[in-house]
Amino acid sequence: MRCDRTTVLFAVVVAVTAPIPAPPDQLSIPVALELYQAGDWSRGLKAIDSRALTVDEFTSTLETWTRGTGAASQPRGRSLAAAFALDVVWTATRDTAHEDFVTLAPGGKYSLSDRRSLGAVAVWAARQMPSAGAVTVLERPLWLASIGIAQDGNASDALKRQILPLALARLPNEPRLRLADVVASADLDLGPLFPVTMRHLNFSVLRPEALPARAAGHIAGAIRSLQGLLSEDAVAAEVELRIGYLELRRRRWPEAIARFTAVSEKTSDPILLATADYMAGWVHEQAGDLDRAIAAYRRALALTPTMRNLATHLSALLFLRDERAEAYSILDHALNARPIPVDLLTSLERGDSRFVEGWLATVRSELRQTHHF
């Protein structure tokens, strides 16, 4: 059974107003898990002191809990622990900027609030998932959430080698998993979109230094792999976008534009549409077609009016065309936007992470429906 937003809101209201005793300030992990299991996921998740816990401490405590309660021998109990772990690490890292990737804790250990923990917890959660038997309703959103969480943590290696083999063994025909597999392979071959040393900066991948020509051979291979997914309607638009981006990286402007145009024919997803137009604008700009560049940037900006990188590109072109009032207005609006939106292109880098909130909500709903809560 799927969970809509109203159901989730209702559940939250019920949970918050239910006569559950107020927890102490610092709860142990098992108590937090009990709260989570009781449907009070909000307080359960917030009760974890994520900055004081390392990933190892967190996951080993969860393992102790599952063994102690007998849940370890039950797929449902292990799935509950996996869901809780994913929810905790996702919540703990929402306020952590990506620049925290470069702040290594002593001894190389890092806390749950460090974004590197996303990949590690996703791997742990994947190992808790059933490996045999019929696929449960809970499994799909759990696998998808773990994929998105690992992508948010830029954990391509862990995804490719540890998570996706397990996930695809269970859901071999799931288009998003297959796309994630191709994307992880491409990341490993081509390098990340955002070089690690640049990840903490406002680094637009649409810059020459982010388009290394050395990867041309690997790009062709990645495009071939992606083309195999074009027949999957669920991901076809994103596949077009990713192929277009790879064509852009090897500076084949007409091929890139054709892909970006195809995106608009295959989806109404504003993120994909805006990203396609943003990149199309950049390609037109490189090709010297400023009118088309401006038109494409305008379409993208209509969908994401405060995107700084996009607004800056458009503003500069308008200024060169002496449309100065609008040039300044667009730029000023974007620069003053708070919180600062991430670049559209992070939708490519972080893949399915933008869906994680929804999948985790579905997981909670399924847990409730199956009487885990």
Binding site: S204, T312, F319, D322, D332
Partner: protein, 313 residues
């Protein structure tokens, strides 16, 4: 003449549609001039040593556009209100020397109000990873305002300077930009080569005060001349783009030996600069137009004017 000057500033140096013509003024109203198709305005600073040269007329100037001598239609030297945009690009990282150099410049710059007149406006543009700009109130401390701004990681010098350049200034005002920077930029969206192009399209005059330079010392970003080329090359590129942008507007580059003195001199220089207006003749419109200004008078003068302008096809 004053009216013409105001319109010249309104139109800027770039091409505006319409033809220059004196309109029939309704009874009781002053005659006004309409913008012309190809009016170009050029800020020109003329000094002998450190002293501005005043009292010049149109016949004292020779102006060429792509090598073709032009007739200067109008010349003004008038104390009109200034919009001063002070761009402060912050040092990246925790390097003590860089921060000390930056705050020395900032403390000096905070006294800039002494050089401003009643109707002038002061706008502060603070640049790190984020870019924030606003006009300060008369009593507002520049120093306090700057310190409020949250530290970011990365510095967007190119984007920040473009933001300053793009500031829309009313027709009856002139725009002066003074940037205190080291040119170190790793996080701008715009490519470095874009800045000179954008500057060439601007009506503003950009001066740059470097509180650190690549290769000269290590206060800029904490790296010295033995740092690896991957670090120094982008720094040098950023520095060079900023220098070229300043030159294209008719501004200049300064070293921050005494930021306050630099700033006062820059403002005074700007106030005493001439605005020449001419209609390009005998030169094809599209493309880059190189402007050269000389004096017909004998003697040694320091003449600074914008390097040219670009006309899109």
């Amino acid at each position: 003449v004053g009216t013409v000057r105001v319109i010249a500033l309104a139109t800027g140096w770039l091409l505006i549609s319409g033809a220059l013509a004196t309109t029939e003024a309704p009874e009781g109203e002053q005659a006004v001039f309409r913008a012309r198709t190809d009016a170009v305005s050029v800020n020109v600073s003329v000094k002998r040593g450190r002293v501005p040269v005043t009292g010049l007329s149109t016949t004292d100037f020779t102006l060429t556009d792509n090598g073709v001598t032009q007739t200067v239609d109008a010349l003004t030297l008038e104390r009109v209100p200034i919009d001063l945009s002070l761009v402060m690009t912050r040092p990246e990282g925790p390097y003590r020397e860089a921060r000390e150099a930056y705050f020395r410049a900032l403390r000096s710059a905070s006294s800039v109000r002494k050089s401003l007149l009643a109707h002038d406006r002061l706008r502060l543009v603070s640049v790190d990873a984020a870019i924030l700009g606003r006009v300060l109130g008369n009593e507002e401390s520049l120093l306090a305002r700057e310190i409020e701004i949250q530290d970011g990681i990365g510095v967007s010098v190119i984007d920040g300077l473009y933001y300053a350049i793009a500031w829309p200034v009313e027709p009856d005002r002139r725009h002066l930009i003074v940037a205190f920077t080291n040119g170190w930029d790793r996080s701008s969206v715009l490519e470095k080569k874009m800045l000179p192009r954008l500057a060439a399209h601007s009506d503003a005059v950009l001066h740059v005060v470097f509180w650190a330079k690549p290769g000269a010392d290590m206060v800029g970003i904490g790296y010295n001349t033995s740092s690896s080329p991957p670090l120094l090359t982008p720094w040098q590129d950023g520095h060079d783009a900023v220098v070229e942008a300043a030159q294209r507007t008719g501004g200049a580059v300064h070293n921050a030996t005494d930021a306050l003195q630099d700033l006062a001199a820059i403002i005074e220089d700007f106030r005493t600069s001439y605005v020449l207006q001419y209609t390009p003749r005998g030169v094809p419109s599209p493309g880059w137009h190189e402007i050269r200004v000389r004096l017909t008078r004998p003697g040694k003068f320091d003449i600074r004017a914008r390097k040219g302008y670009e006309v899109r096809n």
